[in-house]
Amino acid sequence: MYWINTIVQGALVGGLYALFATGLSLMFGVMRIINLAHGDFIVLSAYLAVVVMDLIGVNPLVALAVVAPAMFGIGYLLQRGLLNFTLGDDILRPLLVTFGLSVVIENVLLEVFSADSRRLQLPWLETSSIQLGDRLAIGLMPATVFVVAVVVIGAIEFLLRWTALGRAFRATADDTDTARLYGVNNRNIYALATAIALAVVSIAGVLFGIRTIFDPTIGPARLLYAFEVVIIGGLGSLWGTLAGGIILGVAQALGAAFDPSWDTLAGHLVFLAVLLFRPQGLIPKTFDL
């Protein structure tokens, strides 16, 4: 039973990891950009929530209602004002610019907020739990995070598959020139993709901040998790991303059960195993890794 509990906890955390990965996946899918500052935007969202909570004294979930639109706007401006100029044949440019951005964000946060750890407090969510049967109890927090993850991923899938904007995203990713011929303003589309990606990141960031203590330097580790989830699940498939998240979460939970300091390492090793034996991931749609 202990093992089932461990696996379930890991799977629920996997929902959060899938959420981390969704934003990364969207930007990569539409623009072939891997945003190396992705993890730092997750942390930035948590800190924005801190600011909002301090300013108007609300709980983190209400703060999210402010942070998510703010991050949407930041994402739009980031793409339109900066990242659009890095697009082209040279892969170095978006890579190195987002790398620079990562360092800048991390250190600006250090300057403004210091290196002290924080946590977004939401006591009733953190401590409540749901009883499932007589030997399994799951925390309300992890369950909520998982449900939110599934809902958000479902919403993005719906957007991509059934809406005009989603078609425009896919068409632009396929063939930018022809998409322009039919009215798609690619500069705007790219910016919308990043805006949505960062809005999703902000949801992940706030939920993460409620769940874990954070400080300005933990961004890169989240980037690595997001990346691992995308590779395990398969590039270009959002449900694959959910599966990838669950796998990573479970791997980390099992590692931690073995020895608490083994959690991250266990996740990395599973990632390397997937890379070795099935580099295209679980549910691949695109093959150029």
Partner: protein, 335 residues
């Protein structure tokens, strides 16, 4: 049909002048212990190994298209490899340095096997993950002191030389030798046929492939050489600091971020670029030493601006404006 006679020219007047200048610089560097203080020597040691790392990273990214954010894996392996060689295997330190380098280079092959399954940005993050795996593993190994690391045993330290002055002298010359040696090695490589292949890959991967250049082998060679250099730097880091922790050995900030910024700002894709970048880096560090995080904020912002406005860095701007090549790796046909 008449054949046109031609000559291949390698150097220009500017490059001959630059060469003379650099010869002078090298001689000055070699003479430093005679007139400079300990602190200055330490600084130059650091400059040397950052220069070596920068040249190596530039070779990978600027010529072979391999953007690695995981060189710290090999620096760290070099650190611990040196400790294993000297403290556990009782190998003399001066032999241990090159030996560690070679072992790290060999370990780079299976690493490449994994990492090369990814391309572009994914490759970059993949190398980062590999480095993290190593860092975490070493944090768990009790023999090496786990998270708190370990010191180089006194016996090993004494093995290098009895007196501290001589030790520092040895460390200085080995480091400077590594820095200069890397530049020379890369210079001659780029001048050679393999170097031409590399430049072709840099300019156009598909075109290079179509004329038969074996890119996978070339990329592997570059990756392994870069790992070798990183491994050597690792040994020197332990020699200098006399103690190591996994966090420091496998630090992404020290061995990747700083190096990447050096190459971006100085100029990717040329030998002169990383040299300039290293100088700029240390000047900035000196100027902004008291400002904590602002130092990295400045570096990062500068890197972003350079990448957007002047993608070939400071040297790109100078070289393009004045059409100078200090290191004559190009060939000109003179009819």
């Amino acid at each position: 049909m008449t054949t046109v006679s031609y000559q291949i020219e390698r150097s220009t007047r500017a490059s001959r002048a630059g060469f003379a200048f650099m010869l002078v610089a090298v001689l000055v560097l070699l003479s430093v212990p005679a007139w400079a203080g300990r602190a200055d020597m330490r600084l130059l040691i650091e400059v040397s190994y950052y220069l070596a790392l920068a040249q190596a990273w530039n070779l990978m990214a600027g010529y072979a298209g391999l953007v690695s954010v995981g060189q710290q894996a090999f620096v760290g392996l070099g650190c611990y490899g040196f400790i294993v060689a000297t403290a556990f295997l009782q190998i003399p330190p001066l032999v241990a340095i090159p030996l560690t380098g070679i072992v790290v280079a060999i370990l780079a092959v299976p690493a490449a096997f994994l990492a090369f399954r990814l391309r572009g940005a994914n490759f970059a993050i993949g190398t980062w993950v590999l480095a993290e795996v190593l860092r975490l593993i070493f944090t768990l190994i009790k023999t090496f002191g786990a998270g708190t690391g370990m010191s180089l045993p006194i016996s090993v330290v004494r093995d290098i030389a009895e007196s501290r002055t001589v030790r520092e002298l040895v460390l200085y010359y080995v480091s400077v030798g590594l820095g200069i040696g890397t530049v020379i090695l890369i210079f001659f490589w780029l001048r050679s046929r393999q170097g031409l292949a590399l430049t072709a890959i840099r300019d156009s991967q598909s075109a290079a492939g179509s004329i038969g250049i074996n890119q996978q082998r070339t990329k592997l060679a570059v990756y392994v050489i870069a790992a070798l250099i990183a491994g050597l730097v690792g040994s020197l880091v332990v020699l200098e600091k006399l103690r190591i922790t996994p966090g420091a050995a496998f630090s992404v900030t020290d061995w990747s971020a700083d190096v990447i910024f050096i190459v971006i700002i100085g100029g990717i894709g040329s030998i002169e670029g990383p040299i300039i970048g290293t100088l700029v880096f240390f000047v900035l560090r000196f100027l902004l030493a008291d400002y904590g995080a602002w130092y990295l904020i400045t570096l990062g912002t500068l890197a972003i601006i350079v990448m957007l406005k002047a993608p070939r860095g400071i040297w790109g701007l100078i070289g393009d404006t004045f059409n100078i090549h200090l290191f004559p790796v190009q060939r000109r046909v003179r009819l």
